[in-house]
Symmetry: C2
Subunit: 372 residues, 2 copies
């Protein structure tokens, strides 16, 4: 994940074809499989500049140390999930070769289950008081009805939507354009802490990575893909929220927009979406739920204990499960040693076991989940 | 017109079948044609309470004096047009048996030509500052682009739309729910005077008739029918503007609504129209024109002189035309005497001649129009 930038499609295809270790091996050897290069060039209709690609990736090799990243993540309380993990939200597959290679998560909520009934609430950083008010109202209304709010971590609409959601009962998810250990903007530090305890902070950027303009845009596809639908609360004509809206349309998610005064620059983007029939006009959280809940309302029963029989688990995962203590939590490294697996496998298995309802996060690591 | 209330469908059908004089004769005799009664009952699927109808109409017979009305109208500067007159807007035929029996007009503009490129701008009497601002902006924008504004005469959106239109170059038309001689509300008296000099004040109520709640509702169908489309600027859920919007939909006119803050009760009606796809979301006068101008943009060349050859006029109308002086105006009564026709014919012919561009209103009556 440190080799290529988030959203790098060639790396995405490479990992899809050879797995992360196969891809890493090719980069280390400084030579891509010629069959892969040829097929990709055929799809793109022009030759691939392999030398330039490899140069860029290899320049990052010295800083690439997955084990160190995982250890550091564990120290900070963050975990890594990759496709195939039970906590992995499979709706991200809709992103095709732009699917994130993995996601860093920091927070108590289970990402996959939280996203089953979720709505992205996005809009201007420089929100008007009206936009901030509406974002908070929508966040609270969705959360009270048991819908997870997904947004970025910016000022304005993002922050207001999270604050509203925290006033309700459901999870709230912040998808950042930087490492989950970076509080950007710094003034939202307390907000991120609150989100970690009631939801989860998500990023495809490794720890320590700083936000850039491109990373914000690339991040938006994850917000759109995670949710069942996106609501644009306020957006000027050049707002990043319209970029998220575009992803929602491409991904065939629901798209809604909140109208506002026609005299407000910050509502011009919303009105354009409505006029072009790209977005449904919504004026309340109830109307959003009516829209996104229309199909599959019964898709997402709240998990109340293991949803998979123990016997359905594979050997490794069962070994990890047996290493998890019943009361006081253990850290993943301890569990890995007890189960006789490597740390990466332990982390991945723990995520899967948590998503399936066998284990839960405790203050000091993981413990068995008691049936409710 | 004094016998039955505006919008009385039975009277509408009676006049359609026997003409105004035939209808009046039947009411005077106290006996409706049995064939008519039977046919109407068959259409309605239930017998007609002829006795009750006649009683109501006949109770008004003593106050019904068309000649007195016309004389009084002439004294006040108002004129009566009926279907078939050249100034009659034939789009009113879309109202079927609810078509007005006639319209009283007071003002310098020609109703039919003014309405060819016209938009109704309607909304709450109790408009917010936002609604009044938007109504004025839309009125001005439409007027500057040469589009006539049609609205009622109420406070709030109606008045603001007219004021905006008066700031532009086009006509503005106020359709009242009372006689054109009644200033209701009284505080809009100056506004009505301004509209008379730059547009026309219209009513299907005879002179002296006071507004009632029912007359406002019945009036709304005329606003919707006269215009190519209706824009709802602000409307609470129980606003009369939504009644006008309903007529626009029934009449297959364009319908647009202006979004506003979702926190404003006065925009709830607009948002509902947009959400139900009954109205197009519009945020500027330009967008309204784009909507209503889409078909038939070239329908309405500005009249620049007679549009009918003199030879195409019927004998009576030609006689009236020959009685109209070239410079100083003559009143209709003088012209009627000079032409050897009755006053009603003279008035009707003068309307037709004005609409066709032969004559124009002068300070003291009518005169020939000089070619431009």
């Amino acid at each position: 994940m440190r080799l290529a930038d988030a959203g790098d499609r060639v790396m995405g295809k490479l990992v899809a074809a050879y797995g992360p270790e196969g891809a890493l091996g090719q980069v280390r050897r400084g030579c891509l499989d010629p069959v892969f290069v040829e097929e990709l060039a055929a799809v793109k209709g022009r030759p691939l500049d392999v030398r330039r690609l490899l140069e860029a990736w290899r320049a990052r090799l010295p800083a690439t140390d997955p084990i160190a990243d995982l250890t550091e993540g564990e120290r900070l309380g963050a975990r890594l999930i990759v496709p195939g993990d039970l906590e992995w939200p499979t709706q991200l597959d809709d992103l095709g070769s732009e699917r994130p290679l993995g996601l860093w998560l920091h927070g108590d909520a289970d990402l996959r289950f939280s996203c089953l009934r979720s709505v992205a609430v996005v809009g201007s950083r420089a929100a008007t008081p009206y936009g901030a008010h509406v974002a908070a109202e929508f966040g609270a209304g969705l959360s009270e009805a048991g819908w997870t709010v997904i947004s970025g971590g910016a000022y304005g609409v993002d922050a207001a939507a999270h604050r509203g959601a925290l006033a309700g009962v459901a999870q709230t998810i912040a998808v950042l354009a930087c490492g989950t250990d970076i509080a950007y903007p710094a003034a939202n530090q307390d907000l991120f802490a609150a989100i970690r305890s009631r939801g989860v902070v998500v990023s495809e950027c490794p720890l320590g990575v700083r936000p850039t303009r491109l990373r914000f845009l690339v991040r938006n596809r994850v917000i759109a893909a995670l949710s069942r639908g996106t609501v644009v609360v306020e957006a000027a004509l050049r707002s990043g929220a319209l970029n998220t809206a575009g992803h929602a349309v491409t991904l065939r998610r629901h798209l809604a927009a909140v109208p506002g005064p026609v005299t407000s620059e910050n509502s011009v983007g919303c009105h354009r979406l409505i006029r072009r029939s790209e977005a449904v006009c919504v004026t309340s959280a109830r109307e959003v739920i009516e829209l996104v809940g229309a199909i599959g309302d019964d898709l997402a029963p709240e998990p109340r204990g293991p949803v998979l029989p123990r016997d359905a688990l594979d050997d490794e995962t069962r070994r990890v499960l047996e290493a998890v203590p019943a009361r006081a939590g253990s850290g993943p490294a301890t569990i890995a040693v007890a189960a006789g697996v490597d740390l990466l496998t332990a982390l991945s298995s723990l995520g899967a076991l948590a998503a399936a309802g066998f284990v839960e996060r405790a203050d000091q690591g993981w413990r068995l989940r008691r049936p409710k």
